[in-house]
Symmetry: D2
Subunit: 270 residues, 4 copies
């Protein structure tokens, strides 16, 4: 709509289906003039409809397991070829807890599951930046964004070990962001998004109730996946060049609420 990303080249991780935030980011980036490569874990691609998105956005798809350095190196090398130059933006939208999937309570974790979830959800962000950094694959003033959630700062009991994974992810953004900024003028930030009814999100226990709660707590209501995509576009654009090492709440105000009038009224009715 605005040509905000005209001529920019990117890699987008994590578009599973049309409910995914990454899917919306791809659509919006395409509208704003960007070209990009889509990627997802091979297993997620079998379940998803990423080829439809690729067609729609005139993109190529390169499968990559974000816990495999070999896959990530292949992804970045191929992307540089396909896009014909260095990368301007990267979206990391990857998260998965085996403990959650298996229904294990946080106080009763299986630590192999915990390690797997940490590797997929948090360490993968370090791996992705490692490959981009060491291959000198990013253009100056490029922008890297990962999606996070406020459970990194505050307790949401059902979020389980994903809370700790997001805390690690946000720390990686700061730690690696320092070196990426200092050496290549690349910025690294996380967006802490409202609960969003993606295919992954809606699978979490009690998600519907929590979504309604967050809606009533937030003065502007929950942020949608499309609104998150819009916001992500601004962070990829040239208008936010000096924003780095930040965790940016995109949540209709939830993060700075103590209590809203509506939630208080509901509570008083009880």
């Amino acid at each position: 709509m605005y040509n905000l990303l005209k001529g920019k080249k990117g890699i987008i991780f994590g578009a599973l289906d049309s409910n995914s935030i990454a899917w919306k980011v791809a659509e919006r980036a395409h509208e704003e003039g960007a070209v990009f490569v889509l990627t997802n874990a091979p297993i997620a691609m079998r379940m998803g409809e990423i080829n439809e998105l690729a067609k729609k956005t005139n993109s190529q798809v390169i499968p990559a397991d974000a816990t495999s350095m070999e896959d990530l190196e292949n992804l970045v090398e191929k992307s540089l070829e396909i896009l014909g130059g260095k990368i301007d933006f990267v979206l990391h939208s990857i998260g998965m807890s085996v403990n959650v999937r298996k229904g294990l309570h946080y106080t009763n974790s299986n630590y192999e599951f915990t390690a797997k979830g940490w590797d997929v959800s948090a360490l993968s962000f370090h791996r992705v930046m490692n490959v981009l950094y060491n291959k000198k694959a990013m253009n100056e003033w490029g922008s890297i964004v990962a999606l996070s959630y406020m459970a990194a700062q505050r307790v949401f009991p059902d979020y389980n070990d994903m809370a700790d994974n997001k805390a690690y992810l946000e720390s990686v953004a700061r730690s690696f962001g320092y070196f990426f900024g200092r050496d290549y003028k690349v910025r690294v930030n996380t967006i802490s998004q409202s609960p969003t009814p993606t295919t992954a999100g809606t699978g979490v226990k009690g998600f519907g109730g929590f979504l309604a709660y967050a809606e009533k707590m937030s003065p502007l209501g929950n942020a949608t996946a499309l609104e998150c995509a819009d916001y992500t576009i601004t962070l990829f654009s040239d208008l936010t060049k000096k924003v780095t090492l930040q965790n940016l709440f995109h949540d209709g105000g939830f993060s700075n609420m103590g209590i809203s009038d509506v939630i208080m009224e509901n509570f008083n009715k009880e």
Copy 2:
């Protein structure tokens, strides 16, 4: 450049001269298709060159003392007339400490000066929003931004009572932002900007040294006034509709640095 503010109407407080962040915001808002009213305190206008900016951006100037409800009511009423409709964006870029001007140390404040500085720098933001809110002068999904500084969170000894004023200002953004969001879908945020060599800034004791220090601490270097204007444009645009009650650091990463390699090397040389 991108038509991000096409058709949007605004009020911009605080453009003193071409070094002002508000000046740059006005220029960039004009380029992005906005129309707006410029305003400043009558006394600041006598010293400034705001008429030049008005001409350049095809704007009108309405003087207003931001501590006077009468002036602010007049400003908002006239703006609605001039712009032919409700307001989409407001920039509050106002700050002044009499204690700093008079060279009084923080531990030796004159409390009349403190009260005056608080009224001008912090309470004025409440007054501005009060008038906009009660006159129903903002469009839905409008955006209000005030400029702040990290002294609101951390100690910068020379910043004096402006630190406390900025803490109050940021609190007002949250407090009023809740009601503005709930009732009119208007978002309210503050930008916590790098030290910037504006005409006001450079007057602060030891400013030059501190600017150099911040430059070396920040992985991307200090953010300039123009870069701040670019960032402000994104917050006025339709791409950030669900960002509210936030204090957003625009500082090349300074806010999340503990120490940089360059600062550490400098220190070790001592």
Copy 3:
């Protein structure tokens, strides 16, 4: 009980009646071996029962309006005489919003009321420290504590302009705390306490409901006035000498909760 404050000398502001946190602090400080002066605004003393507390804790009472430099200077001078030496600890427990008392909504403030509340609730802390600092009235490794509330960080709609006052108060703690630490090795902190059913607190609109809400959100329940006094004692003791410039949440965990199971269940019943 533990002799934690044996031989320490203090000034305690704000003991109105036996529900006051300051009252409990005085009782506990007495038990821990401290001697101190009690003070409150002349008007609050007429309403209160401070003389009973003075008798019980073997203290003298010196009335002082915390917005009057003359009163504060008199207070500090007399305290040094009465206590026979410099001060080791000070508690600032003062807060009052005229807008709240008069029932004015935050979006409809009377700015004379706002200024009065700010002077009493926030600037008074600067005034107190100003007098202590310039009279060199504090012993090395002394401790100054002010009571705050989390509305300084997050929105609690009924807290009105006290939210902004607490944000200013916490900033003053940091700003003055730097100079007090650097020059006299005195630490300055704020305690951000659970909502507490003091005589002042229970007057706030909807307080009872909110108290119940906070109780159910906090994994350990709300902190009582007596528990707050216990915690304050640790901050006055020699065991916390290097804690300074901090805002310390004493709230059963509320501040780091996103949602609790109990609140979520209540919400889902709706």
Copy 4:
């Protein structure tokens, strides 16, 4: 000195030698009337002098690898026997980065090393609490403390992947702390301590320079290991029962400093 922990029972992890914070905590806890079990990794015990400490504090030592559930279960079971009842306090002071030891830069991590460091430094805290929680081994109003560092929030380039490990650790404190509070009235907090010249700390590249820098940035100077032990005692005592889910800075004020006068003067000399 004060009998603050009279009759309390504890487990202290991580006393390597007399420079260790855990060593000082053990000495101080003993002075305050506590009885406790000491534990450390078998390999650390071979290098350390823990038996000397055990003798001095009349304690028993039970080796345990904090990444082994079997070892931790054995530790907790034996501790309950030895101490003759449930546990009142636990100190987790464990941290190690293989990447740091091997001299690998953060941008060039070996991910097996990263995983090992994460397991030892961060996940171990979850494991410890898991065993304590599921064995119902803690008394009501017990207190669990882990030692952390501000690199969890801000960038200290040489801290390497320990920054991310500390972010994860602090998140585990909140996540597990919620359930421990809700179900057993146990509080869980982290102390974010000044850089401390322990045997581990002094091994980090550039540690001496950084220690001097932190000393000059902090209005009260760096906190020592002994001061940290004093502070930890307050968190184990009955005076802080409602403090939970917090990360508490014990750092002479460093965490809330933007710049100090001394650091600025040093910088200007350059």
